[in-house]
Every structure is written in C-alpha cells, then in structure tokens.
Amino acid sequence: MSGIAPLVTAVLVTTTVESTPHLAVVYTIEPGWHIYWENPGDSGMPTVAEFSRGELPPSSAPQADSRGLVGPAKYPGPDKFVGAGDIVNYGWENQATLLFALTDHAFSGTIHTETRWLACREDGCVPGSASLSLVLPSAPVVVDTSRLPSPLAGVETPTSLTFQLPDVTEVFLDTALSAVASKTIISGGTVRVELRAARPPGAKLVAKSGGKYYQVPEVP
C-alpha cells in the first residue's frame, strides 16, 4: 500500500452539462488502482456521494435538509476488470467524475458532500472517504463527460423491460458495457431492467439466478 500520498483524492466542483448546472465529484486515482461503478460486479463497493445543505456532514446532521437539492448520481460508463478466478468488476482507473444535477437552482451558501469509495488492485483493497464543501454560487469547471450515458435526457425517462425469473441476484450486459447503465428492481421473481441509454448493437442482457446465468432475449 502506498505510504503518504492518498490512493484517491476527491474534489467537489460545479460544472455545466447540456446547459444545466451540475455538481461534480472528481476522483483522481493512483495508477494501477481502480474504484467502482454503481454496479461493482462480483466484488467491490459502489462509489457513492451524499449531499446536504450547510457545513455539517449528513451523518452527523440528521436534520440536514437535502431534499430537492440534487438529482440522482450520473455515473460514467465503466471499464471491465477480470481478475484471478474469473472475478468480474466494473469501475474506473485514473480519473472518474460523478455528476449530480443541481435541482435547487436558486441555492446559495455552503453545500456539503460525504463520499465513499473502495480502491482496489489485484493484491488488495483500501476503503476511502472524503468530506467536501463548496460555497455556491461557484464558477463552473469543465469536467470530462465523455463517458456519460448518452443522451443524458434518457436518465430521466429510462426505457425498461420486464421479465420473470426467481431469485435473480444480478442483471448485466455482457458486452459494450461502457455505453449503457442498467438498474434492476426485483420483487417476487419479477425483474425490471431500466436502460439509461440505447443498448449498443450486439449487447446482450444476462441475468444471474441461483448460480446460473440466463440470457434475456432481445426485445423490440
């Protein structure tokens, strides 16, 4: 493990994406290490950030009002890492930016975020966290949005498909994962997959159930 220099540093800035104000948490990652996407795969832990108004972190300020402050996290498309034992993970090396639409456009004052991640390489993992503040309004910074699901508007109105399969623990795309994010809602054997952008040609949805893998056939 590295000594003094942190493996991951996180910075909170404002930025503009498709003409709308966003908050961005930019993670800079030590070469050779990675942190994890919303779906980390077989191991790991999603990178998350929680926002609140004011100086205090949300965990120590249960009254902190974060309602209507930011939209859901927009995760950039991940890389796929395959480790020993065919353990598959999704995440990023070098740098990653999580974006949050600033839904309270009129807000001025201090905004706070608590962010947590897990940094790993083949031989080990180190959890990390940061407590960041920013005074709004703040001059927007240009950040890398090239790996965001496109178009961003699709985030608000996802296409979805539904199928039935008991005990599904995971649903994922087996190819071209970097272009599409998916999410599952599982109840009583019914699985809904929400696609945040068009599935790339050839990408197949695969569901894991009771230790077996099933392909979800292409649907119109």
């Binding site: 539904t162 077996k212 649907v219």
Partner: protein, 192 residues
C-alpha cells in the same frame, strides 16, 4: 413475460446451486486439524469466506463488527461455523501463520480452513470476502450471498441493517424456508 433460455457462457465459473447438494470438501485448518464436510451431516453448517487482510473482513471482525458475536451465538446452538481462506500462495492473506494470528487477534472460536488451491472456493463460486454459505443438515446449500446489506457497516441509502446470513441460519435451524436464499455478496475479491 419474456421467455428465457439457459446459455452456456464461456468464462463464467460454475457455482454451487442453492437447493442442491453443497460441494463436499476436506480441508486443513490453521491448527492442523482436518475438516470433512460430509462428516458434518445432521448439522447446520455455515461457511464464511475469509481473508484477514481484507478491509471488509476486518470491519466485521474488529471490535463492534457484525461477526464478533454472531458465530458464537449460533455455534452455542449446535451450528458449525467454518472460515475458509482461498488466497493463493503469495497473495494477500495467505498462509497458516497469518490466519492462525488472525484467529488469535480476533478471538475466533471456529476454525479457519486453508484452501490455497482455490478448488473449494471455485466449487462454491465464492467471489468475495466475506461471502456466506449456509448448508442444511441434509447437506444441501440453502443460502449463498452477502453477510448483510451493510458493506463496511453502512447501509447504502440509509435504513436498517438486514443480516441476510443470520436470517438464513435462523430459518434453516428452524426447518423453515430461507426468506432470501440468494443475494449478491460484497467485499474484496477472493485472492485466487
């Protein structure tokens, strides 16, 4: 409803199926004793994939962690709790000495079995540390997945901690169906 068909996906390791017989094994513990799963028929057996240098494992075994009291609570009721370490030679957390020390440091009352070849881990489809498996007295696997819903002690999005493994052991001990028989595990990757 959309029809599904089984697909032979290359590169995906076979994993033990919930409801099917748990893969048998004989492994050596850090104290030199030998454990043969088939000899434990008639008892409920819990397998905990283990790596003493993984932060997720440290989190559950350090003071106040989720596994500081749970194993003893069940072994006192006749459940057999086994730690299994599938770290390969030279990889993080490997070896008799390191795992014997972890048992002492964390005051573990149950054996840590060494699976240096990774054969047992792969037979079960163990992906993470921790990764939990619960086997019923007949020898069938009844739960595979996460210890709980709280990686590093935090429930994503807030809310109450749900100890999936504890609920599964309780159901199997009580002869009932496990409410959630399969969950996605979390943690460090097993260091095969």
């Amino acid at each position: 409803m959309i029809a599904l068909f089984t697909l032979a996906l290359t590169g995906l390791a076979a994993a033990a199926d919930v409801g099917a017989p748990a893969p048998d094994f004989t492994l050596t513990a850090t104290d030199g004793s030998s454990v043969h799963l088939a000899d434990l028929k008639g008892k409920v057996v819990v397998l905990e994939w283990f790596n003493p240098d993984c932060p997720f494992v440290k989190n559950v075994h350090d003071a106040g962690g989720a596994l500081t009291t749970l194993p003893a609570a069940w072994t006192s009721k006749g459940v057999v709790w086994l730690g299994i370490n599938s770290s390969a030679a030279g990889k993080q957390g490997n070896g008799q000495e390191r795992n014997a020390k972890a048992r002492t440091d964390w005051n573990l009352g149950y054996p840590i079995l060494l699976d240096e070849s990774g054969a047992v881990g792969k037979a079960y489809g163990a992906k993470t540390t921790p990764h939990m498996f619960v086997i019923d007295p007949v020898g069938n696997l009844q739960y595979a997945g996460a210890l709980d819903n709280a990686p590093l002690g935090k429930v994503d999005g807030g809310g109450a901690v749900v100890s999936h493994a504890d609920l599964a052991v309780g159901a199997v001990v009580g002869g009932k169906a496990v409410p959630t028989a399969s969950t996605a595990s979390y943690g460090c990757s097993v260091k095969y």
